[in-house]
């Protein structure tokens, strides 16, 4: 045997029992086993020792231990996992030797599972329905949450049908709620800095202030009304209590907006003192209640067959507590700020309130079917739960009765859209798990009464506004396990629990969500209800709702919802807000990354397609370019008579534009009604496919003067347009909206079916440069790259501004830019975006898809106001508002009709 073999054999036999025997002579040492019984060489001494009984037993024991070792430890030429018993071996282990085994049973034990879940939601918050969603949805990590994007099963059309004819359910708990408390006038004074009356109703709108309606406003930075928007929020006032000016306001905002909004709120309210959260939340002792009502305490009597563990509950609590609410926040982080000067308190209620959205005309039937107004209870009992305490108060009970009556009227209405938008209804309901149907059923409407008058003010009151009640309800929720046990003890299986357990009363708030509000078609499509619950009750309401036959949608469906409503979707369609800008950057990085994952030969060459920015929309550049184009164009076409007056105006404008730094573009929102209505009328609004014109009120026709005056106010503006294709084609995001030439329109007039013009393919000048660089990397790095400038001023302007920032590292930046070249993409700085192609670009599409409601491709996007007006002015009345749409990956232009919906 070779030395290696001997070594191997030694290693293998390490644990095997070796013979125990004495050498025949002391010089010749034989194998001596690892017996633990140290043999001494003196043979005779051993002869003597062997006589004693103790020695005999010791010898046996030593042998046993040697045998035991041999049996338990396998030969060591095997790997770690091979040493395992067969039933514990896993196939994957032989592939990855580093992988150790763990036992699924131990891992899936409740306590260990909870620990694991808590660890996993340290970075991204999980909603309460996370596990339900994770089993059925593609999850994405967005905005610090784990959210369901789209279901793994095919249900796109079914979800659309649900939205338009039955009900679609979404978990919107990731929306952040900020609570403001303080005197009404002080609150309004502080909040008025964030909004403007010009932009429509503010926080002080009378209907909203009474608490009867939910309002929505666009929030701006304090005192910076038109220029610095933050984003849209919805808000809800708590109805007034008698004889008190103290009010409570909830502001609901998207999580990307919250980081901008919260500091802004703190400054306007002068709330800088952080109120530290209390050390330990007050937990209502259940044992107290157990003593007071013995019939409701199943723990007290030991039932044979129940597990021993349950009786030992008080001795050792559950090993891990489920995180309710915001898990990423440290317990010491302040969530509440107080102002010393005006007494306003700001509370961050993120993840404190669960918000579900039901979309669709039958959402009210689903709600009525699922929820049941809380049943009263015996008034004589006193306990720490909130409901019995409320039952003893007569006024509160009459209010509850009124609310329950109104809720029952809801049964009778035909469609959710009939209700006034933003209606609020407070309610207290029973635990919906108690009335869970045994099979999934579809909630069906039963029409009785046609119309519901608005909800009276007192009925908008709900106890969900009160922190103490919320905490009480959350802490005292009956666990699923406990509920199932109580169900199993019912005499007739499947019958309702009676009496209803006292813990099962939940204060909720129902908020009506308006549907499509703009445009002439499908008005109030996608109306629905929002269901607000205290935290911890998420799953308890989710499953009963799902059992009523609703469809569940994710983020994808909420995008489609807003697209069908022709409403801008936050943050995607708010390019002027900080959140929108961040979104654009993220999206660009994401799309670029995806693009680069393709092999270069398989990438779309966007330069050849004449698409300057396929992954983002340079709105600022577009607005600036169009401002210049319009200004120059108008100066040329002017007659000399008008010129004097206008040049004066122009010079003054120029003076302004020269003195002030290039202003940021703005977006004309629904709030600037007058301007939008005028624009809309000029576009000659039609039905979606452009067949029938719609009636428009008396408005001045478009003319040079009207245009100039309009542009003087909104030259740098973008406007939200609804685009519908006249023929086939499916618009994608970042598709270009271009101006058709008169020849194109003539061709369209001749034959309606023409597909549209083609863009001649462009040349890729950068391709040779990339090849060159590949061949000779050193030379390419040193040679300065002259960016090609197809058309004068704009590029110069950008370039100049770029130079300003880059002057110090000028040569370096050039070499960097040449090394940054990606095949098929324009490097920075971009050439003129407006006049890059044969058809002039006026805007881009932000979302587009085949619309199932209109039966044609529809898109939503922004166009430059200046560009649009310029186009409209040159078009005949027959073709007004007709533009061309081209996808980034195509050379084919399609005719489209734009509508500005007010």
């Amino acid at each position: 045997m070779s030395a290696a073999k001997v070594k191997m054999r030694e290693k293998k036999m390490r644990n095997q029992p070796a013979s125990v025997q004495y050498p025949s002579s002391s010089s010749n040492v034989e194998r001596v086993g690892n017996t633990g019984y140290n043999p001494v060489n003196d043979f005779h001494l051993h002869l003597y020792l062997a006589h004693s009984a103790g020695a005999f037993a010791r010898a046996r024991a030593a042998e046993v231990s040697a045998m035991l070792k041999a049996v338990r430890k396998t030969t060591s030429s095997s790997r770690v996992f091979e040493a395992l018993p067969k039933h514990m071996r896993r196939r994957a282990m032989s592939h990855n030797t580093k992988r150790t085994w763990d036992i699924r049973k131990a891992r899936r034990r409740h306590g260990n599972l909870l620990l694991e879940f808590n660890r996993r939601q340290r970075k991204n918050i999980w909603l309460e329905t996370h596990i339900w969603h994770a089993k059925r949805f593609h999850m994405v990590k967005k905005w610090g949450y784990c959210l369901g994007d789209r279901p793994t099963y095919k249900c796109y059309r079914a979800c659309y049908r649900a939205m338009s004819s039955h009900c679609l359910l979404q978990d919107l708990s990731y929306y952040c709620c900020i609570e403001l408390q303080g005197d009404e006038d002080k609150l309004l004074a502080a909040l008025s800095q964030l909004t403007s009356k010009e932009a429509g109703p503010t926080f002080a709108a009378a209907l909203c202030l009474s608490g009867r309606r939910q309002g929505s406003v666009m929030v701006y930075r304090a005192g910076r009304y038109p220029s610095q928007p933050l984003g849209p929020v919805t808000f809800l006032w708590r109805p007034r209590t008698q004889g008190s000016a103290h009010r409570q306001l909830w502001i609901w905002a998207h999580p990307t907006l919250k980081q901008d909004l919260l500091p802004e709120l703190q400054t306007v309210c002068q709330c800088c003192e952080a109120v530290l959260p209390p050390a330990a939340p007050v937990v209502v002792n259940l044992t107290l209640e157990a003593e007071s009502e013995p019939e409701n305490t199943p723990e007290a009597k030991p039932v044979p067959g129940t597990k021993r563990k349950r009786s030992r509950k008080d001795a050792t609590g559950p090993p891990a507590k489920k995180i309710l609410g915001d898990g990423t926040r440290l317990p010491s982080t302040p969530v509440s700020w107080r102002s010393s000067s005006n007494g306003i308190v700001i509370n961050d209620l993120t993840m404190e309130i669960v918000r579900y959205r039901l979309i669709g005309p039958q959402s009210h039937s689903v709600l009525v079917d699922t929820l049941e107004a809380a049943t009263g209870c015996d008034k004589s009992q006193t306990c720490s739960l909130w409901w019995p305490q409320h039952c003893s108060d007569e006024a509160k009970m009459t209010l509850h009765q009124q609310q329950a009556d109104i809720f029952n009227i809801l049964k009778g209405i035909y469609s959710t859209a009939e209700l006034p938008s933003g209606t609020v209804l407070g309610l207290t309901v029973d635990d919906p798990r108690l009335t869970l149907p045994r099979k999934r059923v579809k909630a069906l409407p039963c029409v009785k009464q046609l119309m519901l008058e608005g909800v009276p003010e007192p009925c908008c009151q709900s106890f969900i506004w009160e922190q103490s009640v919320r905490d009480n309800v959350t802490d005292n929720k009956i666990s699923e396990q406990e509920l199932n046990r109580m169900r199993s003890e019912v005499l007739v299986p499947g019958s309702r629990l009676s009496p209803t357990p006292l813990q099962g009363r939940v204060p909720i708030l129902l908020v009506h969500q308006p549907g499509k509000q703009v445009g002439h078609e499908m008005s109030s499509w996608g109306a629905g209800w929002d269901l607000l619950l205290p935290k911890g009750w998420g799953m308890a309401f989710w499953i009963p709702l799902v059992y009523r036959g609703v469809r569940i949608g994710g983020l994808n469906m909420s995008r489609k919802h807003s697209q069908n409503k022709a409403a801008p979707h936050f943050p995607r369609d708010y390019p002027d807000c900080p959140a929108g800008m961040r979104f654009q950057e993220e999206q660009e990085a994401e799309l670029l990354d995806k693009f680069k994952r393709h092999p270069p030969a398989k990438r779309t060459n966007y330069i050849k397609h004449g698409c300057v920015a396929p992954f983002r929309c340079p709105w600022q550049q577009l607005a600036e370019e169009w401002e210049i184009i319009v200004r120059e164009g108008s100066s040329q076409t002017r007659t000399t008579a008008q010129a004097d007056a206008v040049t004066e105006e122009r010079t003054s404008q120029q003076a302004i534009s020269i003195t002030k730094p290039p202003s940021r573009f703005t977006v004309l929102r629904c709030m600037n009604r007058k301007a939008l209505k005028l624009l809309s009328a000029w576009c000659r609004p039609t039905t979606s496919k452009g067949q029938r014109p719609c009636r428009v009120g008396e408005l001045p026709p478009i003319s040079c003067e009207a245009m100039t005056s309009f542009l003087s106010a909104h030259a740098m503006s973008l406007v939200w347009v609804h685009v519908s294709l006249l023929s086939k084609g499916k618009p994608e995001y970042h598709a270009m909206l271009c101006v058709p030439t008169p020849e194109d329109l003539k061709a369209l007039g001749n034959r309606q079916g023409t597909g549209g013009p083609q863009e001649p393919p462009h040349r890729d000048h950068f391709k040779s440069r990339i090849k060159h660089r590949k061949k000779d990397p050193k030379k390419a790095a040193t040679s300065s790259v002259t960016p090609n400038k197809p058309d004068g001023k704009k590029t110069d302007l950008i370039f100049a501004s770029d130079l300003d920032t880059n002057t110090s590292k000028d040569p370096k930046s050039f070499s960097e830019s040449s090394s940054d070249l990606v095949l098929g993409l324009w490097p920075d700085p971009l050439p003129s975006v407006a006049s890059h192609c044969s058809r002039v670009t006026v805007g881009w599409v932000t979302q587009g898809d085949f619309s199932m409601s209109a039966g044609c491709g529809e898109a939503l996007g922004f166009v430059s106001v200046a560009g649009l007006l310029n186009t409209l002015l040159n078009q005949t009345s027959e073709h007004k508002g007709k533009l061309l749409l081209r996808n980034p990956t195509s050379l084919h232009y399609r005719f489209a009709k734009i509508n500005i919906e007010v």
Binding site: Q16, P17, Q21, Y22, A50, A62, V64, M67, L68, V71
Partner: protein, 135 residues
């Protein structure tokens, strides 16, 4: 499976005087077994004994021996074991006989059997301690 198949015999060497056990070694036992087989089965038996027969383990304190025989002829060889009456070692002749306790397919099985058998010898306290490490 393709392998050389063997049988392992767990035997106990019974002697009248236990101190004599300490004189044993594996070579002596081997010689004794070979002689007994040759005596009972002749040349054929002796030849059988020369292939893959060995003493795997011997504990001179307890007198436990593991013998390995080829599977083909282990019954033949086993039948010769009762004819061993004495073992000659270190110039002494120890009168003894071999008692077969267990026949195993693998050495590991024999080890296990011996472990189980041995624990019976020991005191109940030790036994209890060992049971904690029950295989």
């Amino acid at each position: 499976m393709v392998r050389l198949k063997s049988r392992y015999l767990l035997c106990e060497v019974n002697v009248s005087d236990r101190s004599q056990l300490l004189l044993l070694d594996d070579r002596a036992i081997m010689v004794a077994v070979k002689a007994a087989v040759a005596r009972t089965h002749g040349d054929y038996g002796a030849a059988m004994c020369s292939i893959r027969f060995c003493v795997k383990y011997l504990n001179a304190h307890t007198g436990i021996v593991f013998l390995r025989f080829p599977k083909r002829c282990y019954k033949l060889l086993w039948s010769a074991l009762p004819f061993i009456t004495s073992i000659e070692t270190r110039g002494q002749k120890i009168p003894c006989f071999l008692n077969c306790l267990h026949v195993g397919v693998k050495l590991r099985v024999c080890t296990k059997a011996q472990y189980k058998g041995n624990t019976n010898y020991l005191q109940p306290k030790t036994n209890k301690q060992l049971k904690k490490h029950e295989v």
